[in-house]
Symmetry: C2
Subunit: 240 residues, 2 copies
């Protein structure tokens, strides 16, 4: 039997709400529940633990905030499908409050995305290769429409991460979307000449083509060149 997990650190340790949260996560684990499985309701846990329904309601509310359970109005709670969206929330907060810099985020992204590009080149399906090419070409087609170009840029990076066949890479890369959506248009504006802009679009197409060609080394090189360029543009736009 595996040890029980630590309680989510969302309520001060030792409080009734904290104990109630721990009881629910312990139950999910000991019963080996999966995403979508039903949990017993408030009343069951309240009786079991000898706490009030108000305490259980608060514990369920906090577990829902952490996306560990889904609680629809008046229905029994279910185990959530992971989307790591709380990682995105945490990351955005860290950047907005200057606890993590854009340069640090982009260095982590580069590390992860060199690997997802290489894995995608080896493991992608034909449909995935086509979708990745589509996003790269659509960026070029939408070059005069920042909003749509940015959507294709974000979607390209996510499609590559999904094609890496590792759900955790895909979740982590998805958590960068908010910061990308903010910075891509800003970085784009620092590229004032047509040649510079074409260079950026070409970079993305080269990544996509290397993945389509199943050339992992070329995919990694193209992604690396993309990050060199992207980090230079961000720093040029005053992000650090």
């Amino acid at each position: 039997m595996l040890p029980l997990p630590d309680a989510p650190a969302a309520a001060p340790a030792g409080t009734l709400v904290h104990q109630a949260m721990q009881a629910v996560t312990g139950f999910i684990r000991s019963e080996r529940l999966k995403a979508g499985d039903w949990l017993p309701g408030e009343l069951h846990f309240a009786r079991e633990l000898g706490v009030s329904r108000a305490v259980m309601r608060e514990a369920f509310g906090k577990l829902a905030a952490l996306r560990l359970i889904d609680v629809a109005n008046g229905r029994r709670p279910r185990v959530s499908t992971t989307d790591m969206s709380v990682m995105a929330v945490s990351l955005d907060h860290a950047v907005n409050t200057a606890q993590v810099t854009f340069r640090e985020v982009w260095d982590v992204r580069r590390t992860l995305e060199l690997r997802t590009a290489a894995l995608a080149a080896s493991l992608r399906t034909d449909e995935e290769a086509a979708a990745i090419l589509h996003h790269a070409r659509s960026m070029t087609a939408c070059r005069d429409d920042f909003a749509r170009m940015t959507q294709h840029d974000v979607a390209l990076h996510q499609a590559i991460a999904i094609a890496s066949r590792n759900a955790l890479f895909a979740h982590i890369v998805a958590s960068f979307s908010g910061l990308m959506a903010e910075t891509v248009p800003v970085a784009w504006k620092t590229r004032s000449t047509e040649a510079e802009r074409e260079g950026v679009l070409e970079c993305h197409r080269r990544v996509a083509e290397a993945i389509a060609d199943r050339d992992a080394a070329a995919a990694e090189r193209a992604m690396d060149a993309h990050f060199d360029d992207s980090i230079r543009a961000l720093m040029g736009a005053g992000y650090d």
Copy 2:
């Protein structure tokens, strides 16, 4: 002016609680608040938004669950120091409910920690190099005490991530601690011969020594060998 961030997706979009959460994160951002800064209290936001204090209390509770703010009993809330502990909670949940496999987590760890080892070799202070060596040697000294050996193992990986001088690497590596604490003793038990066990300890010492020697390539190679061995042991113990 940067766009406002998306609201934390912890309350159903469009609900009053969701709007209240969004108002608080928008305030943190527009006022450029930093960790430790005070926020206005429940009553201020309740009046400003025209919602009840109960709604604001629930919004504050959920923001505290997400570790965006700290709310001590009866005190005004403050902007939280990021610890990315919610990433750990989310990750543990994903693994416990079989939405992400151990193999996937270890592949992501390898990707990140080859890089933190190389960065640490270039950027570590003398104190950090000494602390990293200390943990590697203590693992050998504590080889008959699983719990202490595991603590030094987890601390070694975190000390390397911190020495990489990138706060985000350090936060993400820290979020793997719970899964490491669970698997290190299990993997250790699959190493039944003295030679195998000595090999594992030697691997950790080689990483630490390469970082002390400022040899980034050797640090990366030693970390890679460590992950090869560690993933083989985990798979041998039935984790996947």
